[in-house]
Every structure is written in C-alpha cells, then in structure tokens.
Subunit: 311 residues, 5 copies
C-alpha cells in the first residue's frame, strides 16, 4: 500500500514496507543525510555526491544499489519561469531514496498514480518507480527544449526586422544556454547500454525496455539541441551578413553621391577661377552650355550605376 | 493467399492466415490502437511510440517482435509536393502491422506484387515483407535527395547571376532542410549490425543480406546529404565573397573618381582666390597651361590605377 | 593455362578450368547478366548492385563469394583525360567475374602477366587475381591524386599573381572534386579488417598480407586527399586575405589623397570668399605665405602617413 | 602507525612498516633517485619518467606497481599565484613513493589525517592513500578552473565597455592557457576503465569506487574547460563583431556628412562661377531662394537617412 | 660480440651470430635488396615497401618478423638544417635489418653503446635493439618539434611588430609544414596496442614496457603538434584582426578629416558666390564672425569624436 507519513525515526523505516520510498526535501542538514546513508549502508562517496549541488549528472552502479543524479527542470506557467533543481535518486532492491533541495512539481503525477488503488506503480518493484521518476525528469526536458525553440523563433523574427548589435549579444547568450543545457543532458545518454548496467540484478529484463525508452527520449532531446546549435550558428552568420549588407548599401550611397557631384564641382571650380584671360567667361551661351554638359554627366553616371545594380 | 478485407473484429485476425498483414491508416482513435496492442501482446511503450507523431526513427528489438519507426517521404508529381508521413511497422514471427496517419502511395507496388500469384512476397515470411516496406521507404529518400539536388543546382545558377541578400536566406533555409532531413535518416544507419539484431531469430541469415542492402542504400543517402552540406557551405562562402567583391568594386570606383578630381579641384580653388597680388592671374597663357597640367595629372593617375589593376 | 575465347554458352563455362575468369564489358543487356547470375548462383541483390551504375563502392561478403564494387579511374595521356568507370568483381572459390560498362586499360598489365607461362598469377588462386585487379585500381588512384596535386600547384601559382574572383570559383570547384573523389575512395578503407572478412575462407592468411597492402595504399591516398583539403582551405583563406589587402590599399590611397587635399581646398575656399573686409586679400605677401603654409601641411601629413606605414 | 622521520638509509625502509610512504622532495640528485629505483626494483623507464619534468600525465600499470604522473596546481592566496609542479606517485602493494621537485601544500591535509589516531587513512591499504593524493590533485584543478572562470568573467565585462585591440591579444592568450590546461588534464580521463587497470590486483573492488569518483571529477573539470573554450570563441566573435559595428558607425557618419554637404557645395560652386552672362546673379531674391533650396535638400536627406536607420 | 665488417656474401651472414644486425645504406641497387629479401625469406611486399621512398610510416606484423617504416629527421647543427630520411627496420627473432638511402647520425649513439663490452644492448635480444632504433628516431622528432616551436615564437614576435601580407604567406607555409609533419608521425601512434602486436612472440612482455614508452613519447609529440596547430590558427586570426584594425584606423582618420572640413568648405563656398544682393558680404565683421563660427564647428566635432573614441 501507499501511505504518506512524517518521518521521525529513520532507523525503523527500511524494514516496514515491501518497497520503501523516502523523499528528502532540503539538503541543508548534512548530519541527517549522513545518518540516512549509514542506515541504508550507502558508500560515503554517494552521500558526498548527493550533497554536492554542482554534481555532474550520472547513473552509477554500486554493489547493492544504483545512484542517479540528474538536473530537474520545472516550468512554472504562472511566472513563466524555468527552475533548475538537482535530483538524486538511490535505487535499492526494496527501497528508493530521492533527494532534492527544494520541493518541485516533478513527483505530482507519480503521487496521484500511487494514490490510485490499481495503478501499475503499486504493483511493480522499486526499479519501475525509479524509471517513472527519471522519465518525468526527461519529459520535463522537452518543455525546456520547447521554450528554447520559441525563443529562437522569436529571435529569428526580430533578426529579419532589425539587426542592431544587441541581437548578437542575445545570440551569444542563447548559444551559451544551449551549450550549458547540452552539458547537463548529454552525460546520461547511452549509459544504460554499458555492461555494468546490463549485468546488474536491479535491472530486470522487463524494466530494461523502459530504460531504453528513456534513452530514446534523451536522444531526441540531444538531437533537438544539436539542431538548435546549427540554427543559432546560421543566425549569427545571417546577422553578420546583414551588417555587411547594410554597410555595402551605405557605401554605395556615398559612392553614387560622390562620383556624381565631385566632377560637377570641379567644373564649377574651373569657371570660378579669376584668370584675366579665360575666353569662355565672356561668351554669351557659356552658362547654359555648361549646365547642359553637367546634365549629360549626371545622366551618364546614373545609367552606369543602374547597369551595375548600385541603385 | 492475399485478400483485402474490411476489419470488424481485431481479435480473430491474428490466427487466420500464416502471415497476417494489418495496415492501419489513421491514428486518431487511440482506443482501437491500444486494443490492437493488447490483442498482439505489444508492450505499452510500443503503442506509445506508434501514437507519437514526433517519434525519432528507430529499429527496436523486443522479445517477440521488432518495431520499426521511419519517416516516409512521398512525392506527388501532380502538385510537385513532398509529403512526410510517419510509418510504424511491427514485425512478428507470423504477423506484420503497419501504421500511418494518412494513406500514402508507399505500399502501391507491394500491393501489386502481392496480387500476383507467383510473386516472391507471397512465398516468403513476414520479415521479407517488412524488408520490402522499409526498402520502399528508403528508395523514396532518393527522390528527396534528387529534389534537394535540383534545388541546389538552381540556387547555384542564381548565385552566379545575382547575389542579392535573399539568396542568403534561401541558403540558410536549404541548410536547415538538409540538417532536418539528415536527422530523420541518420539514426537508422548501421542499426542492423548491432548485436541484438544479429542474434534475433526474426532475422534469418537469408534475409540479413537484404537488410544489409537497405543499410547500404541508407549510407548512400547519407553520403549525398553530407556532400550537399559541403556544397551549400561552399555556396555561402561564394555568396559572401561575391558581396565582398562587389563592395571592393564600389570602393575602387569611389577612389578613382575622388583621387582624380580632388587635386584638380584644389587647383581650381587656388586660382579662384581673391588675393590682389597673384601674378599668375594676369599672365595671358595661365589658363591653357593650367588645363595642360590638369590633363597631365589625370593621365598620370590613370596610368597608376591601370598598373594596380583598379580599372 | 590462360586462353582467351569468345563466349557463346555461359552454362558450361564454370566447370571448364580450375580458375575461370569471366570479364564482362557492357552492361546494357540486363538479361545476359541475370542469366550469368543464375548460372553462378548469385544473389539477386548482387546482380542489382552490378547493374546500378551509381552503386557505392564496397567489399561485401556473401556465403560463397565476395562482391567488390569500385570506381576505376583511367588516365589517357593522349587527350589528357581521366575517365571514371564502375568495376564490379565477384570472387568465388574457383571463379572470378569482372564487370564494367566500357573496356578500360586497367587489365592490360594483368593480361600480359597471364600470357607469360611462369607468372605468379597463373599458379595462384582466384583470390590473388582479385587482389591484382583491385591493386591496379588503387594504383590508378595515385594518378588521380597526382593530377589533383598538379592542378592545386598551378592554382597556387596563379593565386600569387592575381586574385580575380574567378579563382574563387575554381577553388570551390576543386574543393568539390576533392570531396567527390574522397567519397568514392573512403568507403573501402579498413573494410578488410572487419570480422566477416577475416573469418572468410576465401581470404587465406597468405593473401591477407596482400589485401593489407591494398588497405595501406588506400590509407596513403586518403591521407593525400585530406592534405589537399587542408591546402585548398588555406588557399581560400589566402584569396580572401588578398582581396582584403587590396581593399585596404585602395582605402589607404583614398585616405591619403583626401586628407591632404581637403584641408588645402578649405584654405583656397577661404580666400575665395567675396567679403569686402578681408585684410589678408590686400596684403602683398599673402599668396606666397599661403603657398608656404600649404606646403607645410602637405609635409606634415606625409610624415604622419609614413610613420603609420600608409605609404 | 604513522611517524615522520629523516631518512638516512633507503635500503632498510621498505621492510619496516606495513605500508611505507616515501615522499621525495627535490629531484636534483639523479643518483639518489636511481638508488631508490634499484631498492624498490623499479623499471629504468619509471625512473626516467619521474626525472623528466616535461613528462606527459599518465597512469601506467607495471607488473608489481602502478606509476601515476600528474601535474599538480597549487594556489597560494598570499600572492594570488598558481604554481605548477609535477607529482609522480608509485603505488606498490605495501609501499607508496611520491616524488616532486618543490614542496607544495598538496599533502598538508593528508598529513593532518594521518596524524589522527582513528583516521581511515591509517587503517586502509596503500591504494587508498594513492587515491587520496590523486584526489587532492584533482580537487586543486577545480581551483584553477575557478580562477580561469573569474578571468573570463572579468574579460567579458571589459569587452562590453571597450573593444581595443589589446583585448584580442588577451583572448588569444587565454585561449592558449585553456588549451594548455586541457592538455595536462585530458590524458588522465577514462584511464581507470581500461582493461589493464581493472585486472590489476592493486585495484581492489573496494577502492575502484573511489577511482571512479576521481574520474568523475576529471570529467567535470574537462566539461568546464570545454565550456570555457566555447565561451572564449564566442567572445572572439563578439569582439570582431564590435569592431565591425564600430567601423559601420564611422562609415555612416562619413556618408551622412558627405552626402548632405557635397550637393550643397556644388550649388555654392555653381554661383561662384565668373561667367558674365548668368541672369540669376543679378536677381534680387536669388540668395534667399538658394538658401531655401539648400534647406529643403538637407531636410529631404535627413528624412531619407532616418528611414534607413542611419541616424 | 659486436664487430663491424664489410659484407661480401649475404648468404652466410644470417647464421654467423646469435643476433645479426645488417645496416643497408643506399637503396639504389634494387637487385641486392631483393637478394637480401630472398636470403631472409622476406615477403615481396616488404621488399617493395622498403624500396618505395614515399612509403607511409607503419609497424606491420608478418609471420616471422615485423616491419617498421618510419621517417627519420636528423638535425645538422653545422648548417642548421633538418634532413628527412626514410628508415625501414625488419625485426626477426635473431636478426635485424635496417635500411636507409643516406647515412645519417641516428645510429651513432647505438654504435657507441654496442662498442662497450657491458652495455645492455649486447646482452638483450634483437627486439631491444629495434626498440633503441625507433626510440632514437622518436627522440629526433622532439628536435623537429623544438625547431617548429622556435619558428612559431619568432613569427609571433614579428606579428606584433608589423603585419604585412608576407606574414600570412609564412603562416600558411608553417601550417602546411605542421600538417605534413603530423601526417608522418600520427600513423604510428597506438599501433603497439593492437591485438596482432600483443599476441606476437617477438614482443616479449619485458620489451613491451619499452614500446609503451615509445608510444608515450609519440603521444607527447602529437600533443605538441596539435597545440602548434591551435596556436598558428590563433595567429592567423590575430593577423586578420590586425589588418582589420589598421583599416579601421585609416577609415577613422579619413572620416575625421572629411567631416570637419566638408562643412567648413561649404561655408567658404557660400560666401564665394557672386550674387549681387548678399548683405553679409558688405558687413564689416562678417569675416571674423565666420571664422569664429568655423572654430566652433571644429571644436564641436572634436568633442563628438573624442566621446566616440575616434581620436
């Protein structure tokens, strides 16, 4: 059966039920955790890993139990926030210990399932419960992936409209988040296929199918992350190319204006000289003829620019 | 024998023929699929995978059957369109179940073969039929590869003619499609060589030769995709270099015009000054001499530019 | 013994000699090839591969024979041309079948060797003959490598002299050819070390030494190709840097001319104004003093540019 | 028991205690080290490795002992300095020899532990002591990682404020340090999983758990280094993009000023010409009308620039 | 014992001593080498490899002997030159054959060792001698690495001082030399760990330790080469960035000069117009006021440029 109770004495917990699930929230009291470790005969290194908030994600096989350390991402729709929490799970033959710093909504669905009389969770072993926990965590990764996808999508739209240099900053920031997320997910992939998992008695053939499914989901998550990296790299290229295009356009305007007016200005300068002997100055139609010549120069230039696609 | 019939009761399907092929079109009714799963004793995860339209392609070995999930691309010449459909195949010792959302033309040829009395398909086991299905799907990949090839070819021709910034957008889009296609094909490669396939009794030595052929075709498809990536990256480089060349040309025109006329304008400015004591102003041949000097400057400049290949 | 003869009946070919070599030129008649396949008990997929002109190169082990598909490059010095031909070789215990579309000069040397009474080829098994064929094909790859090397060398010399944008096109073209050549050679490397080759009775320990040598040559070819890729990438970088340098030089000329003459022109403009009260205009030495000031400005600028290495 | 004593005769050291730890500081006297090697029956290559200050980090299994060579980084908070020292450890069944050039504070904590009567270190074998040493060294890596992280963080802040070209130099320098640190850490990773470690009798199953933990920490360090590389590469991109942006801005200012004033200057030049027959010159409102036209041109230009986001 | 003698008859060499070392200098006489091959029962392919001056480096196991082909780099301090020579070594159970085209100083130290009565080389098997040869060759690689390091160091210093485009050429050349050196060293790494080496009776457990040491040195050489590649790539980036910086600076000077003087020139042009009705022209203080306005414009501009860090 499944009953929730407040723990007072750790020592007589382990024997009580067929499968005991101890969920520890709050890792501040190092003493209590160590006591728990002693009670369940856990290796000192396991306790150390559990207490280290920057522990690398891993599945690790010990003689009598398996340690799972994963990063758990919980999305809170109210304030549109994703919170990262480290979740450690220790799976023994007839017990399961889960430890985290803050209470999250990860176990909500599992608790509901357990409350039902005829749920699978109640009739299967501890390994199935561990699978359900890890599965929930991995499913949460998809929410993060989706959020990242939305963010990329928005940034892409922004990129088309304007390419101010802040976008590059956001792209670099996004890249870093993708890399960081990748680092937290990738170490878990393929672990269950290693020989010390396959040979472990805690992994029955029956449950192995489920773990394979988890690995499959991890692969999908990692595939998506890899795709995001490629997309973001493409976006950086597009940004740099846009900046270049813009510069190109600026240069062309400068060149068109300059090359049209510089020769004209020369001509005006020519007839602004104060030489006493310049026959053109006294000729009656000099001015309109010069204006005509200038018009001709302008037209020629414009035709040339048109031909070179500068306008 | 091979007969098409409308299914009413799933339960008495499995026993009827030596090899039973059930083709399910439309995955909307989750209930029916689950009922089918119960009938054929399929693992709940298999049913889940089949119902998940975003399932990653895979070949997965279970105790009594093999699950194939692939993406099926169908080209419709009428409206020049490629439609993507997820196809799941469950291969058992004496049955085969294929599931997809929409009816495609993938099985047309297989149906024709089955209709013939003396076709190989009729006299071989379920595994041969599965091979033929997957083979058809992989053959369809070649159509996609060809379409991508044509698109690249067209873009290349466009790239030579003009290099407006829209082409970069199209190149990035193309790159993304290639990456996405790669993601749907690559997970399948080499799978059949893994040990759990080789040791499976559903994979007779006789059929293994055929699966090896499928893997060979997948390799060719992936080779082509890799080549496309290299080509498209080269095209992006070419585009950026064209843009650069264009800018270079613009700069050169600006420089040529400026460096010729700026010194000339200085000279006209010089003799446009209003100093009372400027001996040159009163000299009779000043004007033609200055024009000669200006002509000399122009010629010198042009020779210099010619030597530096700026013209 | 070794005798050439015109084939009329395929069926009684196989029994005639200890080792039978059938060389098929021209794959147009699909019927005949299939008949040959039936005679030698070849798998339908083998016949399919042989008839597919775009087959990926591979060595493939079947129960009673091995299929080799390679791309054969023949250099014809007369018209300085390299022709690509697909060559399929089927090696059985006492027969060898070679198939190609067009007659090439690949087998010329083998034929000469066979014509000699005491040549090794006559006294060794079919596997040695197959080795000699593949070895000749791989040796031809070195010719292609050399040609590519020459082409790269020429392009490099061109690159030093001028860097017009056509060179970039040629570099991209060269890159693509290198990639394409790599794709045709790389799938063969290391194949002979795979377990199904080592365990095959057609690969005696004695011949294995020879196949290892072929693999060694393939490695050398692939090493060279890899080096070519690195070199061509370096050339693209050099080209882009040259273009940049050129632009830099253009900009410097523009800047030098502009920054010298723009202040001078301002001064001429200043004394070209028509104000009635400008004391300098009436002063007798204004003009020579101004010319001196201008000369000073020019000298100062030139010294500054010299110091900044812009001249 | 654990007692510190001054060594006079090496020869009778080995037999004295159950587990003998010899800590050699200063490798100047090659003779003494060789004598030690002879005493403990060490392979000449081991002595050579120990004496080579540029030895690559490695774990190496010999018949009767294991050689560990690692780079030990010690942070001295007083002068904010990180010193690198090579530490060699030779682990035998009942002895452990540690060798370094300079005394560091790496063993301080171990010495304190040994001094306590009931510490684990006293009651476990030599392999546990070796683990504690390597573990301390690896823990020191985290200090280096943190220092690198701080340095990167500072550089990032600097990068936002100004992007002078010295920052690029610092980034390249940082990149090199990261690469160099990576080179000293990476060769150790995964070594303990190799077969000759697992089969070694010096590695009891009990201690293996500890070594796995060390490997886990190494993985974390390498993960961080990899992340640093990605970040620094992103910073170089940001720097180059900033430089580009700056150039862009400079070009825009030039273009705006030039394109506004060049046409205006042309107009002033036009009416500065000295033709005798120019009707506008004598018209009374020519000057204010011209001023108005010029104002109109300026306004039009500004509107155009605004629309193109150049202002 | 060790005696040097002039060889006249190859045939009775092999039986004479316990371990026979034949050192062949000069590979011109193909006949002699083949005779040697026949005498020692070498495979024709071995003779072919030895005679091919462009043979890829390799360690290759045959039934009764092992073939080593390496590139031997000798540094001649006199003319500061590095010469590359191919060295082939054939190691049999009781003989060792070394072949090279030119006499090098690689064996000088080995010869000296052999001359000593009580040297290890005299009392160990042929495999130890082979190890010493290969070890000497690998030690020579460190000399090349050092030379490359010095060259890179010099180039780096040059890069800081000036960044003319010749440096890019030298960098590309250096890159190519590094790649080429990498190609000659890398194929040897890890070879001794392959199964056919470990199972070979010519590789006693005793000597294996030495070969592992050689592999360790190769790893160090390859590590260094990899680091050199990273450094040179960083240098290319620095060069390109310097060029960019320079261009930027040029552009800024142009912009500063242009934006200051273009508006001033406009003003001078304005008052250089010849309109009859321009009230400012007759006003007494027009000229000093205009000069004041111009000074104000210059000051404003300079302040703006200062604020934007363009000066």
């Amino acid at each position: 059966g499944y009953e929730e109770e407040k723990i007072t004495e750790i020592s007589n917990l382990a024997q009580k039920n067929k499968v005991t699930w101890i969920n520890v929230v709050g890792l501040g009291s190092e003493e209590k955790i160590k006591e728990l470790g002693t009670e369940f005969d856990l290796h000192p290194l396991v306790v150390e890993d559990v207490l280290n908030p920057a522990q690398r994600p891993k599945f690790e096989v010990y003689d009598d139990y398996i340690l799972f350390v994963v990063k758990d991402f919980n999305y809170y729709p109210k304030n549109q926030e994703i919170k990262k929490e480290q979740l450690s799970i220790i799976l023994g033959p007839d017990f399961i210990i889960s430890l985290q710093e803050q209470r999250t909504n990860t176990f909500d669905f599992i608790n509901k399932s357990l409350a039902k009389e005829n749920s699978q969770l109640r009739h299967r072993g501890a390994d199935y419960l561990a699978y359900r926990m890890i599965d929930t965590v991995v499913d949460n990764y998809f929410v993060v992936v989706e959020e990242l996808g939305n963010f990329i999508f928005n940034l892409e739209e922004q990129l088309i409209e304007d390419s101010s240099s802040e976008i590059l900053g956001e792209l670099q920031q996004l890249k870093r988040e993708i890399i960081s997320f990748h680092r937290l997910v990738s170490p878990l992939r393929g672990l269950i296929y290693s020989s010390n998992f396959k040979d472990n008695q805690l992994f029955t053939d029956e449950t192995f199918v489920y773990w394979r499914d988890v690995d499959d989901h991890l692969s999908t998550v990692l595939d998506k992350i890899q795709m995001f990296r490629d997309i973001v790299n493409g976006m950086v290229d597009t940004y740099l190319s846009n900046v270049n295009d813009n510069m190109n356009q600026v240069m062309q305007v400068l060149t068109v204006i300059s090359t049209i007016f510089i020769p004209l200005s020369f001509l005006t300068g020519l007839y602004g000289m104060n030489f006493q002997y310049m026959p053109e100055l006294g000729y009656q139609y000099s001015y309109p003829i010069l204006l005509g010549v200038m018009g001709l120069i302008v037209v020629t230039m414009l035709v040339y620019f048109k031909k070179n696609n500068w306008l």
